[in-house]
């Protein structure tokens, strides 16, 4: 009787677990089902590398948006990653206990701010600042990168902090006892030892940056043209969907789903890379 009950319980849990998987499968299938016909109609090459996005004329080239996504994300990583790593090293190695506790909860609060608030703040503060002091319209790749850099900080900081904290204290002792300074110990022993965790943190942060939509819509300017400098406006894959989904239909709507496919593939590549790095350790 009891054994039977346990078996049923196990089955129930299995099905609940399976249902999350099937949600993923349904969404993925749906996106592909909607998007693939358009990609076939336009041609893979023309879709990915086409320079012109003009749905009213039946032109669906998303290359400017791929570049937009890549450049905004790269900018966010270049600004955000060094800052995040410095913070996590400071928190684990140098900060007194009270400061560490305080900063940790503050950083978690940073993760709780809704993205629309980030975007609004960026629009009223960063955008005018760039326009006044650096030139251009202000709505720009630089503005998007700055906002995203702030938004990915909590992810990178907390994951790399965890992987640094997980190191055995023996590493530090052993290194110091050999006459290494604290800084040499951090640089040559602790960071290499936590490397896979730190890499995973960076990739997850980048994944977050690629997927972010709302804040980016508000500060990026959303022009569908190949940007020439970081002060130019741009459009990303996510914002393309976000802006046009309200009125798109027919081929246009399918093209947005096709944009989603490209986005999905990018994220999948990143996640596999993260898993590969963690496992390779």
């Amino acid at each position: 009787m009891n054994i039977k009950k346990e078996k049923n319980l196990r089955r129930a849990f299995f099905f609940i677990a399976l249902s999350t998987l099937s949600v993923l499968a349904i969404i993925t299938l749906f996106i592909f089902f909607e998007g693939i016909p358009l990609i076939n109609k336009v041609g893979v090459f023309k879709f990915l590398f086409g320079m012109k996005w003009a749905p009213s004329q039946g032109l669906y080239g998303i290359f400017p948006m791929i570049i937009g996504t890549l450049s905004v994300t790269l900018g966010a990583a270049l600004i955000g990653v060094p800052v995040a790593l410095c913070v996590s090293i400071f928190l684990t190695e140098f900060a007194p206990k009270q400061i560490r506790m305080f900063m940790r909860s503050t950083i978690q609060l940073l993760a709780g701010i809704p993205s629309v608030v980030y975007g609004f703040w960026g629009l009223t503060f960063i955008v005018p600042f760039i326009r006044d002091y650096l030139g251009g319209p202000g709505l720009s790749i630089l503005a998007g990168s700055l906002i995203l850099a702030i938004m990915i900080l909590p992810t990178i900081i907390s994951i790399s902090e965890v992987s640094l904290l997980a190191l055995p204290g023996l590493y530090k002792q052993g290194s110091l006892a050999l006459g290494a300074t604290h800084w040499q110990t951090i640089w040559r022993v602790l960071i290499p030892a936590a490397k896979s965790g730190i890499m995973a943190a960076i990739i997850l942060g980048i994944g977050r940056a690629i997927g972010e939509t709302m804040a980016v819509i508000m500060v990026l300017g959303n022009a569908v043209a190949l940007p020439n400098s970081i002060l130019d406006p741009a459009r990303t894959l996510t914002t393309n969907i976000g802006i046009e989904m309200g009125y798109a239909s027919g081929d246009h709507q399918q093209a947005l789903f096709a944009t989603g496919i490209v986005l999905l593939v990018m994220i999948m590549i990143l996640n596999s890379a993260a898993q590969y790095i963690v496992r390779k350790k």
Binding site: Q173, L176, A177, R188, P192, A193
Partner: protein
């Protein structure tokens, strides 16, 4: 006075916050001998090592008073470099502290930090060190594999080798065999006997038997106080203090 004193501790007091871990310690250790510092848990032996290597500096809650002289010079003087000091006094911990890098790099790490860059010299020093701890034959074909894949006993011998490679004046070992099997223990004890001609060795033994087996002189500590020091044979056969006698004969602790 046959040999000059290598280490002298004078009126040493050590506090962890409110708790006093070492009380008015006085101790002299001569060069080229094995000194066993033994006592039950919380007797202050490990703390003495942390003070001697200044590894306690990292903990802001510790307070040290009194003097520790190394070759007549106070190790806490302002002009003493901590990293230099730790190269002179090599410490081996109770648990193996192999670093997450290859066997070769574990030994080369400290050497590189001390400024040795020549590859052949590094190879030579690594080989010598591994031979001193009788580990060479076991690992010579896989020097580039991760050190953390070695067994516990091998890792501990690697850590001793790493310390020896730095050519320190003094080696301090904190219960180096506590986690090891008897064969590995024997191997380490044998190497220590060979090494005392070149180094001064202070060891916290994991058992009274080990203290008796390997040391020339010994000191018995209890609750932060040095109860008695003397030649090991004398201390073990004819202790002057009742507490030493009780501990050695197993009547407490």
């Amino acid at each position: 006075m046959s040999k000059p004193s290598k280490i002298i501790a004078r009126n040493l007091n050590f506090h962890y916050g409110e708790k006093q871990a070492i009380k008015n310690l006085n101790l002299e250790i001569s060069a080229n001998e094995i000194f066993a510092l033994f006592g039950p848990a919380n007797s202050g032996t490990t703390t003495f090592f942390r003070a001697l290597t200044r590894l306690c500096d990292l903990d802001p809650h510790t307070k040290v008073e009194g003097q520790i002289l190394l070759d007549g010079k106070d190790i806490r003087d302002a002009d003493v470099s901590v990293t230099e000091l730790r190269r002179k006094i090599g410490m081996v911990f109770e648990e193996p502290t192999a670093l997450p890098m290859s066997i070769f790099d574990n030994i080369a790490y400290g050497l590189r930090l001390s400024g040795i860059k020549d590859k052949n010299l590094l190879k030579e020093r690594v080989e010598t060190a591994l031979k001193l701890t009788v580990l060479w034959e076991e690992v010579k074909d896989r020097l580039d594999t991760p050190a953390l894949r070695l067994s516990g006993g091998q890792q501990q011998r690697l850590c001793i080798a790493r310390t020896l490679a730095m050519s320190p004046d003094i080696i301090v070992l904190d219960r180096p065999c506590a986690a090891l099997d008897p064969i590995s223990t024997l191997k380490i004890e044998e190497s220590l006997q060979l090494l005392k001609n070149q180094f001064t060795i202070i060891i916290i033994p994991h058992s009274i038997q080990q203290a008796g087996r390997i040391s020339d002189k010994a000191g018995f500590m209890l609750y932060g106080e040095m109860i008695e020091t003397g030649p090991t044979r004398e201390l073990f056969t004819n202790p002057k203090d009742q507490r030493t006698n009780d501990y050695i004969t197993g009547r407490f602790g």
